[in-house]
């Protein structure tokens, strides 16, 4: 009897393991097939799979909740009887990674798909561990000029930018990125421990491309401003060597050191924006998400004209901010992989699918066709113009992704590089003493 029970248990265990493995293989197979299909073909598969079912999505952006009803409406244009219930969750405090790790232990997961930021943790905790799978929609790849199977990175929904803005009610100007770390400056910035993409931005500065840009900006400084920074650059030169950084790595480390030791940590970009647009914040600056400006209401003390975007000013040297991506993934144990792929394709291939994010300035679709159509719909490049054609709010005229990358020197997150240096440059940053206002 005992033997029988043991054998039965062993069989059950083996069966459950096989089932779990096969569920995961199914998802990977679905993704492989889905990558060769058009949005309409995927939509039909999604209708078969999810009609009348519940969709659970999770993401760092709350807008997934707004995009889902539009997706359902789209599926209804193919099959009017189609319906799907949905729930969208937005965990905070880095909990999304714990939540996905916990969910990955299930044979069939709860979450159909994921919208997630922080390339560094995605790489080390989600991709290398096989918790999330990348799906590249066919038409998205084509729009970006990739042949089938050619694109190798994660799938970005959009790039968001955080930019230097300063209150311009006083006389002070910031025309060089080193001005933000000059003596006595305390920029408002979300704490790098509460929003880890901020840490990734600092990691990225040590990459050759951005370290070189910092050196160029330093060279452009007036001679009388250089000695303060030179002392710090000399101080960290040995560290740059130890950390195996490139030729101008010391410039990157110096800027990082001065920044970490001077920025005034805030809980979110919202309060930073609220502070800067008030006339009482004379001569203050911050590094914050561009889109926050959209919700500022004009009043006697608050105005969008109280701030300037540093990179838009003539003669500005250095990077004007940094960009990070919202990536889209299918969970490796997704309960509805076809629906996940169809929804991802819908968001990245159609302007309606992107509209939940597209209405904001400072967020740029990864699909150039969608980005173009989105601009035609929302006119972000002229968002600060009055009806009579004059400039009402200069800061609201978003110059677009290409300008930010090429002219604005946006520092772009590279997940693989961030992962590589997170325990070298990352540990060095953690040794620095953050500004405490003393």
């Amino acid at each position: 009897m005992k033997k029988f029970v043991v054998v039965l248990l062993a069989l059950l265990m083996a069966m459950s393991l096989c089932m779990a493995a096969s569920a995961r293989e199914d998802v990977e197979e679905v993704i492989e097939q889905a990558q060769t299909m058009t949005l309409e073909e995927l939509a039909k598969k999604a209708i078969e799979e999810s009609n009348g079912k519940m969709f659970y999505g999770v993401g760092n952006s709350s807008r997934g909740k707004s995009a889902l009803p539009l997706f359902i409406d789209y599926l209804k244009t193919i099959d009017p009887s189609y319906n799907m219930e949905f729930e969208w969750q937005q965990p905070k405090n880095n909990k999304i990674f714990d939540q996905l790790t916990a969910d990955s232990l299930k044979e069939t997961g709860t979450f159909t798909m994921v919208l997630i930021q922080d390339g560094n943790q995605i790489e080390s905790k989600m991709v290398q561990t096989g918790i999330l799978d990348t799906f590249i929609p066919k038409e998205w790849a084509e729009a970006n000029g990739y042949a089938e199977g050619e694109y190798e990175g994660y799938l970005p929904l959009q790039t968001l930018n955080k930019i230097f803005e300063y209150n311009c009610t006083g006389e002070k100007t910031y025309d060089n990125v080193w001005d933000f770390v000059a003596e006595g400056e305390h920029g408002l910035f979300m704490d790098i421990d509460s929003e880890v993409v901020g840490k990734n931005f600092l990691y990225m500065l040590t990459a050759d491309k951005y370290a070189d840009a910092l050196k160029d900006a330093f060279d452009a400084l007036p001679e009388n401003e250089k000695p303060y920074f030179e002392a710090v650059i000399e101080e960290v030169e040995e560290d740059a060597y130890d950390l195996d950084l490139g030729e101008n790595g010391a410039y990157a480390l110096a800027w990082i050191k001065l920044w970490v030791e001077s920025y005034n940590a805030q809980t979110d970009d919202g309060p930073i924006c609220n502070t800067l647009v008030d006339k009482s914040a004379t001569d203050q600056f911050g590094l914050l998400v561009y889109s926050k400006l959209r919700s500022v209401e004009e009043s006697d003390s608050v105005s969008k004209n109280n701030i300037k975007v540093a990179a838009y000013e003539d003669g500005y040297k250095g990077f004007g901010g940094y960009g990070y991506c919202h990536y889209l993934f299918v969970t490796d144990n997704s309960p509805m992989p076809w629906t996940a792929c169809a929804f991802i394709a819908y968001m990245t291939e159609t302007v309606d699918g992107f509209s939940a994010w597209g209405k904001d300035l400072g967020g740029y679709s990864s699909n150039p066709k969608v980005a173009e159509a989105n601009e035609e719909r929302f006119h972000h490049m002229t968002g600060g113009m009055a009806e009579d054609g004059t400039v009402a709010f200069a800061a609201m005229n978003d110059r677009g992704y290409d300008w930010w990358v090429n002219e604005g020197g946006l520092v772009l997150e590279d997940p693989v590089y961030c992962d590589e240096v997170s325990f070298t440059v990352g540990s060095w940053i953690e040794m620095l003493d953050k500004y405490s206002g003393e």
Partner: protein, 613 residues
């Protein structure tokens, strides 16, 4: 042969009789059942979190270090302990936060006991004027989420010159800038937390003052003992158990507070846990264990004090008189006015400030105050019914139409009522059972194990339950179940402490008289014990309810925002959308006041009524 059989049967019968006798006492049944359940609910999460400190977490420091040392990227490791205690970051990640945490917890205890205890004394033992009003208003800071006072503090004292943020009211209206130590760090954190927990001390200490037998003090008065001597030699020793209970409860709560130090810029173990969790997951779990160790240490101190504590029977059924100190004709008003002003700032001003905030055009935009122009006010935060056009609401609908807020509201009610009923009932039964069998080791064990989760900082309990209940077989993350389970376990001590304290005051003679009359246990409880100690027992139910309504530290890791009001409120606060967070605060306060009024109407008792009424 027959003789042997008789002996065997006899031994069995004796055993059975012993068992029967044991279980004939309701307190023993209660202790056995809850002893087992509470052991599991307390020990299992501790085991889970300890295991987590030895586990390699992909993408974190332990995986990196272990890979360098042995090439392994999974399994178990000691790296988390080695790195946390010996690396160059030990001071920053461990020792400084630990020291700050201890300072914060001690300071909070001092502020809350002094403020709450003095007010409790003035209200229950003196003829101070307007006692009922002060009693009602005094508990407001405890009703409100703890960080709302921190936000109010910021709104009052922050200034562009000192904190580099928007000007607060003092700076913008009067140009007064407070120093940095006043605006951020340890001082404001301990004051805010102290004010938040002062009602707690007030309720516990006031309950004893109110129910105290006046015979002892009367005897001392008759013997012409000076008033100060009566106070130090008679009154204070009688309330010592309540003061000790307050310390036990406040110390652990302050240690585990996340939002207050987070908003006021103090690095504690809780804030460090959150900031380290992404990259130093295993080391963060060690921080949680350190917080738990403090909880266990406090419990051991409590045990020592319990064994050495003198027993004070304060409710005997013989005397209901309480002697009141006469503060004098002027004194009773002067002291009352001081308290009215103080409570205005801790209780009324935040509510006015919350209400005002919901009508500002932009968060923190006080243009209306400088200009008096009503154009600088708006009802958009309440009334906006769509989120298509840009209304300056960051894509949200107004509070009245905001589905997220109302879903969270009903979720909060569900969790709070469930926790109130389960924690209140279990805690009251445990408190009763322990008081009946105080000398038994098992009773003391059950008392301790029921109390332990409360002494463990909320955030640590949340972490432990997250690890325990988000696994392969049992995954309750982001369900109301996990919140109810954790809330119940965490808040049983409110009821058990409250019940135990009140039962210890209750002379055994009262129930013994009923036992002699052969009155069943249920009837003894419902007709004698509960009615006598109604206010304390109802406090044992109301405290879990109220605490649950605005609990954040315990629940923040167990569910996402939009699930319950506190996480939603915190989300809006962090986002800087103070109109929404203030509106939610108002909803919470009104909810609690309505519940308090209903309980008052139905049972004749309420949280403060038992003290100030």
């Amino acid at each position: 042969m027959v003789k042997q059989e008789t002996q065997q049967v006899s031994a069995f019968t004796i055993r059975m009789n012993k068992v029967k006798t044991y279980f004939s006492k309701p307190q023993n049944v209660i202790l056995l059942i809850f002893g087992i359940i509470l052991t599991i609910t307390t020990v299992a999460p501790i085991v889970a979190i300890v295991q987590d400190t030895f586990t390699i977490h992909p993408g974190t420091i332990d995986a990196n270090l272990e890979k360098k040392a042995s090439g392994r990227t999974s399994g178990f490791t000691l790296m988390n302990y080695i790195d946390l205690f010996t690396s160059k970051l030990a001071k920053k990640n461990l020792w400084t936060p630990l020291l700050n945490t201890v300072y914060l917890a001690v300071g909070t205890c001092v502020v809350s006991i002094l403020f709450g205890g003095i007010v409790a004394f003035l209200i229950t033992r003196t003829n101070m004027a307007w006692r009922k009003y002060i009693s009602s208003i005094f508990i407001f800071p405890y009703i409100m989420p703890q960080w709302t006072l921190a936000v109010v503090w910021q709104n009052l004292f922050n200034s562009n010159k000192v904190t580099g943020t928007s000007n607060g009211l003092l700076a913008s209206l009067f140009g007064i800038t407070m120093p940095k130590w006043w605006c951020q760090g340890l001082f404001p954190s301990l004051v805010v937390l102290g004010l938040h927990y002062a009602p707690f001390a007030y309720i516990l200490i006031g309950g004893i003052f109110k129910n105290m037998d006046a015979n002892l003090e009367e005897a001392a008065t008759i013997l012409d003992t000076p008033k100060w001597k009566i106070m130090t030699r008679v009154t204070l020793p009688m309330v010592k158990p309540a003061i000790l209970s307050t310390i036990l409860l406040v110390f652990g709560s302050a240690m585990g507070s996340y939002p207050v130090p987070h908003y006021l810029g103090l690095t504690t173990l809780s804030t460090k846990y959150i900031s380290m969790n992404s990259k130093y997951t295993g080391e963060a779990s060690i921080l949680a264990i350190i917080m738990m160790i403090f909880g266990v240490a406090i419990m051991m101190v409590n045990q020592m004090s319990l064994t050495s504590r003198k027993s004070y029977t304060t409710v005997t059924g013989k005397s209901g008189q309480i002697s009141k100190i006469n503060l004098g004709k002027t004194g009773r008003y002067v002291i009352a006015i001081i308290l009215v002003i103080l409570t205005f700032f801790t209780s009324i001003f935040p509510i006015i400030s919350f209400a005002f905030e919901t009508f500002l055009p932009n968060p923190g935009d006080y243009s209306f105050l400088y200009t008096g122009d009503t154009k600088n006010l708006t009802t958009k935060w309440w009334a906006t019914s769509e989120n298509i056009t840009e209304n300056g609401l960051y894509g949200q609908m107004g509070i009245l139409h905001n589905k997220t807020i109302w879903t969270a509201f009903f979720g909060t009610l569900l969790v709070s009522v469930a926790c109130m009923l389960t924690a209140g009932t279990i805690g009251t039964l445990v408190g009763y059972a322990v008081s009946k069998d105080r000398r038994s080791k098992w009773a003391n064990y059950v008392n301790s194990v029921a109390f332990l989760p409360y002494l463990m900082p909320s955030i640590a309990v949340g972490v432990a339950y997250f690890i325990l209940l988000s696994g392969e077989k049992l995954n309750l993350f982001n369900t109301y179940w996990i919140l109810i389970i954790v809330g119940t376990v965490k808040y049983i001590p409110f009821a058990s402490r409250s019940a135990l304290n009140s039962m210890l005051q209750l002379s055994g003679e009262i129930e013994e008289a009923a036992i002699i009359q052969d009155i069943p246990w249920i009837k003894r409880m419902t007709r004698i014990i509960i009615p006598i100690q109604k206010s304390s027992i109802i406090s044992g139910y109301l405290l879990p309810f109220m605490t649950c309504l605005r609990e954040l530290s315990l629940f923040m890791l167990l569910c996402v925002q939009g699930f319950i009001l506190s996480t939603t409120l915190d989300y809006f606060d962090e986002m800087g959308l103070y109109a929404f967070s203030s509106g939610i605060n108002l909803i919470l306060i009104i909810t609690i006041l309505v519940f308090n009024a209903i309980v008052n109407k139905v049972t004749g008792a309420s949280l403060d009524e038992g003290i100030g009424g």
